[in-house]
């Protein structure tokens, strides 16, 4: 349920938990204070009432001793004087004899020591009296005398205390929850600011910084430190870019000139042996320049800056084009190629890089899948992701090579006789990561299976 979910995500915020804990502690404190007050008030009032009742008891017992006129007569006499208390005299058989209140025998039998009795059936009381408190006296002849005082005030006071406690409790709880929520929202906002900024930076916008408030709180301190770190990071990336540019200019230019010289020289050679040497040199140079281009491309992809230029790419069309292009080449290698591409697969990305990704993976089959007879490309949608699978039934990878093959310049052909520069898979992986996808290698029944997922547009 959304409510549970919201509560759980709220609970995860430390600010909310802390504030809520504070509220609970204050509530416990309030409860304790109210308990003490309640107890003190109750005891004070009870003692006062009990004193009045005891005094009245002593008076009436003294009178009975002196005049020997019986309990009923003395009760009537006391009432005639007007004492403000409640009296009831019962005969040994439980019959009411005298007094200003009635009580049933059931109530009478339960009434022994000092006791507070609320208005109840069997204890009719005047309308303004809510409760009485008093005691029972049993005489040797079996007669009973009940003397009690009006205890309505005690009851009213108790309910007043309870009400004010509930009001205070409710206020603290409501205010506490409100403050907790505000604190949580404040914390969440700051953390969200951090997260969005960091996300933007990961997306390739290195110039972003976490906004500071002038409050100099712990978040500001953290933000300031992180901003310094980001500044440093940006400088380092800038350096890297500069170095890359320098390399591409300073190193590529002389290599380019070398290639030009070789080509110009070759045109002058009439000796076929010399021309062959020249061709070989150019081929080697092109190989070196190819590694170079792959390295620069890898650096470019890993910087993440390409994300800023992403567009909608029709992956189905691109894959169809590639399948159509590789089918004849694979056929020349004696490999039957099958493509199973679902229509309308779209991703948000860079067409050129996505093309390079699949070209690298398909190149791997023509270059490295020794003994393969079949290869296949599957592409489909699964819950918001484009799932792709490129498989062959060739020699596969030796055990434990899956992780290593994704590293740069790693070539399983240790003699380095087959073509390749060990950058194809690392570049493929970097391109997949740039697009927010995943690439994994798995050995099929035979050969190698490359699985990859890309977020669908």
């Amino acid at each position: 349920m959304w409510f549970e979910g919201a509560a759980r995500s709220l609970w995860r915020i430390s600010g909310f938990r802390l504030t809520l804990l504070g509220v609970l502690v204050s509530l416990a404190g309030a409860l304790l204070v109210f308990g003490i007050v309640h107890h003190a008030v109750e005891v004070g009032w009870r003692d006062q009432i009990d004193e009045r009742v005891t005094a009245a008891q002593t008076d009436i017992l003294g009178d009975i001793h002196r005049n020997h006129k019986g309990i009923a007569w003395n009760v009537q006499a006391t009432l005639a004087e007007g004492s403000g208390l409640f009296y009831a005299a019962l005969a040994p058989n439980g019959r009411w004899q005298a007094g200003n209140f009635h009580l049933s025998s059931a109530v009478a039998s339960r009434w022994s020591g000092p006791k507070t009795l609320n208005r109840q059936p069997g204890l009719p009381l005047p309308p303004h009296v809510l409760a009485i408190r008093g005691t029972a006296l049993r005489f040797s002849n079996g007669e009973r005398l009940f003397i009690a005082a009006d205890a309505s005030a005690l009851l009213t006071l108790k309910s007043l205390i309870a009400q004010s406690f509930l009001a205070v409790f409710g206020t603290i709880l409501a205010l506490g929850l409100l403050i907790s929520l505000l604190a949580a929202r404040g914390t969440l906002r700051r953390v969200d600011q951090f997260a969005t900024t960091l996300h933007d930076i990961m997306e390739g916008d290195l110039s972003r910084r976490i906004p500071l408030r002038s409050s100099h709180d712990e978040f500001d301190r953290l933000a300031a430190e992180m901003n310094q770190m980001l500044q440093r990071l940006q400088e380092l990336m800038e350096n890297l870019r500069q170095v890359t540019n320098d390399i591409s200019h300073d190193l590529r230019s002389p290599l380019a000139r070398l290639r030009e010289h070789l080509e110009l020289s070759r045109a002058r050679f009439t000796d076929p042996a010399l021309a062959a040497v020249c061709d070989e040199a150019v081929a080697q140079l092109d190989q070196a320049l190819g590694i170079f281009a792959a390295m620069l491309r890898l650096a470019e992809v890993e910087s993440g800056a390409r994300r800023a230029h992403f567009t909608l790419v029709d992956l189905s069309a691109l894959l169809t084009l590639l399948a159509e292009s590789y089918e004849p080449v694979l056929a020349e290698h004696g490999i039957t190629f099958q493509a199973n591409i679902a229509p309308a697969l779209n991703v948000h990305g860079d067409r050129e890089l996505l093309a390079q990704l699949f070209v690298n993976l398909l190149d791997n089959i023509t270059l490295h899948a020794k003994g393969a007879a079949n290869a296949a490309l599957h592409a489909g949608m699964k819950s918001g992701w484009v799932e792709l699978c490129i498989e062959d039934d060739g020699c596969g990878l030796p055990n434990g090579a899956q992780g290593r093959i994704l590293q740069r310049f790693v070539r399983l052909d240790t003699a380095r006789q087959r073509p390749g520069h060990g950058l194809g898979l690392p570049l493929a992986q970097a391109i997949v990561a740039l697009h927010g996808g995943r690439l994994s290698l798995a050995e099929g029944k035979a050969g190698l299976t490359v699985r990859l997922t890309l977020p669908a547009a």
Partner: protein
């Protein structure tokens, strides 16, 4: 062909001049952006070759200024800047083609021919012909000597590109860039594979072949 080369590196300029001379191209060199701008605006050149990193005014600025001034001489960037964005920047500045150093002479030469021809030739017609081969661009059908030839989509695209450049050398890189839209070189020879399929369909069994291979350069579609 009169070529203006805007390049600050004298050695690279000399090599390029020497390389293009045998093709009969006349190369004039400007050593910085400002000189290049003046020469291009004043002289009557068939094509411009512009380096991007130049002292003073850079290559992009030179071409932007020229295009702004209404100079529409075809221009090719020849530069060490080979990033994905660099190419886009070059084309946006008004470049007609973009080549990353190092370059192969044959490639450069083929592209220069394509550029200068593109400037002269009217937009392609509905029906393209070479010898007894005919391609209809509206129905996407191909006929040779009255015989209909079934082509797969990619084979058709390659053939149409060759026909539009008939009599010209078309390099593998040009095909990769213009037909496939790839600005990198796959390690697998996908272009050769399409060409050989295409050959099997349009040349095999006919008297004279139309697709000719130029070793180290590319292909040409023509009647010899």
């Amino acid at each position: 062909m009169r070529v203006l080369l805007i390049e600050d590196d004298p050695k690279a300029a000399a090599n390029l001049r020497a390389g293009l001379a045998p093709e009969g191209h006349e190369v004039e060199v400007a050593v910085d952006g400002r000189a290049g701008l003046l020469a291009a605006a004043a002289g009557n050149f068939d094509v411009l070759i512009i380096d991007r990193m130049l002292p003073g005014l850079d290559g992009l600025g030179v071409l932007r200024t020229l295009r702004g001034a209404g100079v529409h001489t075809p221009a090719l960037f020849l530069t060490a800047l080979g990033g994905l964005d660099d190419r886009l920047d070059g084309l946006r500045a008004g470049g007609d083609d973009y080549m990353v150093k190092p370059y192969a002479l044959a490639e450069l030469s083929a592209r220069l021919s394509a550029l200068t021809r593109r400037a002269r030739v009217p937009p392609p017609q509905v029906k393209l012909r070479v010898g007894d081969l005919e391609l209809d661009r509206t129905t996407r059908t191909v006929w040779r000597a009255g015989q209909k030839i079934e082509l797969k989509p990619r084979e058709y695209e390659v053939l149409e590109y060759l026909l539009r450049h008939r009599g010209q050398v078309v390099t593998k890189t040009m095909l990769l860039e213009d037909v496939w839209g790839f600005h990198f070189t796959p390690q697998t020879s996908i272009v050769e594979a399409q060409i050989s399929r295409l050959r099997a369909k349009i040349d095999q069994g006919f008297a004279a072949p139309l697709i000719h291979t130029y070793r180290g350069a590319g292909y040409k579609l023509d009647v010899v």
